[in-house]
């Protein structure tokens, strides 16, 4: 569904990604793990069209989308939940969700999608009129995911959805990611929570210093000694 071939990304002189290649098949959960500064967020921002790669090719369902502006990438069906729950704090929950249905294709379906979002996240339904800034961290993360769903994505990229959340909430978020995937959504999950995301993922890539250091099925990586040593201290 999504193919990345030999992508380089530079911020000025600094290289953020080097020769990154990966594939995501339809219906999969693919995790991208790595330490701070490994290039995880840069990678998904590049896919989303926020940064332009200096080299390489990105294709989505056979279409070359390298260097496309973000609003066109969105329109193709790639949704992105940015790091740090970037909700609009002074808008209500409902307004936030409505804002998610920006692209014309999604706008027509907004009412029914919102119903679906409320069945996935009943907590949001209780808080429709509340300003999003007053929600708890977990609720904001759910709102961010719900807002992304409003855009009718077929592939959703989540950038550290567990960041700064209490362990029980992290569980809840991962459960929802799993449910969304079962409902047919392809998921790219960027995480520092290595164990949780590897358990959830069909396949995973490990990024180190902007390069793919390891790749394999979630289970296989969990049992890999090198990975256990580097990330789990075992």
């Amino acid at each position: 569904m999504l193919t990345i071939e030999a992508v380089d990304l530079h911020y000025g002189d600094a290289q953020a990604l080097s020769d990154v290649s990966l594939t995501v098949e339809e219906g999969e959960i693919v995790a991208i793990i790595g330490a701070n500064g490994a290039g995880k967020s840069s990678l998904i921002s590049t896919i989303a069209g926020i940064y332009r790669p200096t080299r390489g090719r990105i294709t989505f369902e056979g279409e070359d989308i390298t260097g496309w502006p973000s609003h066109l990438v969105c329109d193709l069906g790639i949704g992105q939940v940015a790091e740090g729950r970037q909700i609009f704090p002074s808008m209500t929950v409902r307004e936030n969700l409505e804002m998610g249905a920006v692209i014309p294709r999604a706008r027509k379906l907004a009412a029914s999608t919102m119903e679906r979002v409320f069945t996935i996240f009943p907590r949001l339904a209780e808080r429709v009129r509340q300003d999003a800034g007053t929600l708890s961290g977990g609720e904001q993360q759910m709102l961010a995911i719900g807002r992304c769903l409003m855009g009718q994505p077929r592939l959703i990229m989540l950038d550290e959805p567990s960041l700064g959340l209490a362990p029980t909430i992290v569980q809840e978020v991962f459960r929802i990611v799993h449910q969304l995937n079962t409902d047919g959504l392809t998921v790219v999950l960027v995480e520092q929570n290595v164990v949780g995301s590897l358990k959830l993922a069909d396949r995973a890539y490990v990024l180190e210093n902007g390069q793919i250091a390891m790749a394999g099925s979630g289970r296989a990586l969990l049992d890999d000694d090198r990975l256990r040593q580097a990330y789990l201290g075992l």
Partner: protein, 341 residues
């Protein structure tokens, strides 16, 4: 009409209508000095409203809005000076020139990812470029200025003369007052309606979190450009008015940064990102300024005005950082109901 007042509490709507009616009746009671201060209030409210579209709603800081005042003023002023074309015709090239300049600056800034203060510096730089250019451009008078002929300070009170005064913007002060007051109301209505459309919501999204807006599929470049162009055009209207009301145009004064700052002070005091903040701020600041000027002369204390200005700014920033209007609105129970749910 419905969209205009939707969600506004009845008392706020009636309050607004009353204020506007009173403002329209003001020339029957006041003349001379008071009227000229009211003109200044409305003029600054128009400019503030324009700046607020960019900063308050779309979140893009401009510190060079004098540029669009000057372009509007010179575009219409030069047409009048050289070809005798009136202000309402001059408004069209004023819109075009200011809009194009806004688009150029916006494109340069946004396309290359210049944001925040750096973008603001770019706006100052362009205002300075154009000032220097106009200082050396003979056709519009260069640094020695351009002067529009003052005519019809007193007119007959028959329909034809009044219509003529409005059409040519050559007439007594009350003609200017009605023009700028109507302009102020028109700007208010325009911005209100804009903010009810999808564009308005996109602006708010960009203001609150540009990355998130981008991730949702908003064409950020397009909507930021649109904000600058609309803001520039509204400011240019103020510029056209300035040219015909003041009749003297110097690049030195019209493009000066003081003018850019003057128009945004009112918005900060009134409340950035609110519809009535710019109006409230312009009226409050202008009357405060005038009052202080008089006091200063009366007691012969030089610098009293500037000192009080500074203290007022400090007090607002410390105690009412959101501006006077959000606080006053709550006090009067005029808060808008959130739509739906």
């Amino acid at each position: 009409m419905r969209s205009l007042f939707e969600g506004v509490p009845a008392r706020a709507a009636w309050g607004l209508v009353c204020v506007i009616v009173l403002l329209y009746l003001a020339p029957l009671v006041f003349g001379g000095y008071v009227l000229s201060v009211l003109i200044l209030c409305c003029y600054l409210a128009v400019l503030g409203q324009a700046w607020n579209v960019m900063m308050g709603f779309a979140g893009q800081l401009s510190l060079g809005h004098a540029l669009y005042i000057g372009l509007g003023a010179y575009a219409s002023g030069a047409l009048f000076f050289h070809f005798g074309l009136g202000p309402w015709i001059g408004l069209i090239p004023a819109f075009i020139v200011a809009g194009a300049m806004g688009a150029l600056i916006g494109w340069l800034g946004f396309r290359f990812g210049i944001r925040g203060v750096y973008f603001a510096l770019l706006t100052i730089a362009f205002a300075e470029f154009v000032r220097i250019l106009f200082d050396h451009w003979g056709w519009i008078g260069g640094s020695s200025g351009m002067f529009l002929l003052v005519q019809n300070r007193n007119i007959d009170m028959d329909a034809a003369s009044i219509a003529n005064a409005f059409w040519t913007l050559r007439g007594p002060n009350w003609v200017f007052y009605y023009v700028i007051l109507t302009g102020m109301v028109a700007c208010l209505v325009t911005v209100r309606l804009l903010m009810r459309t999808r564009v308005g919501y996109y602006w708010l999204a960009i203001r609150e979190d540009q990355e998130a807006a981008q991730a949702m599929g908003i064409n950020v470049l397009r909507y930021k450009l649109l904000a600058v162009v609309i803001s520039a055009m509204m400011t240019a209207f103020g510029g056209v008015f300035y040219a015909f009301y003041n009749n003297t145009l110097y690049p030195e004064s019209i493009f000066s940064i003081d003018r850019s700052i003057e128009l945004l002070l009112g918005v900060i005091i009134g409340g950035i990102g609110t519809l009535f903040g710019p109006i409230l701020g312009a009226f409050a600041l202008t009357w405060l300024g005038e009052g202080l000027s008089i006091t200063q002369e009366w007691f012969d204390i030089a610098g009293l005005k500037l000192l009080t200005y500074g203290v007022a700014m400090l007090a607002i920033i410390l105690f009412r950082p959101a501006g006077l209007w959000p606080w006053l609105r709550r006090l009067l129970g005029m808060e808008e109901r959130r739509p739906d749910a």
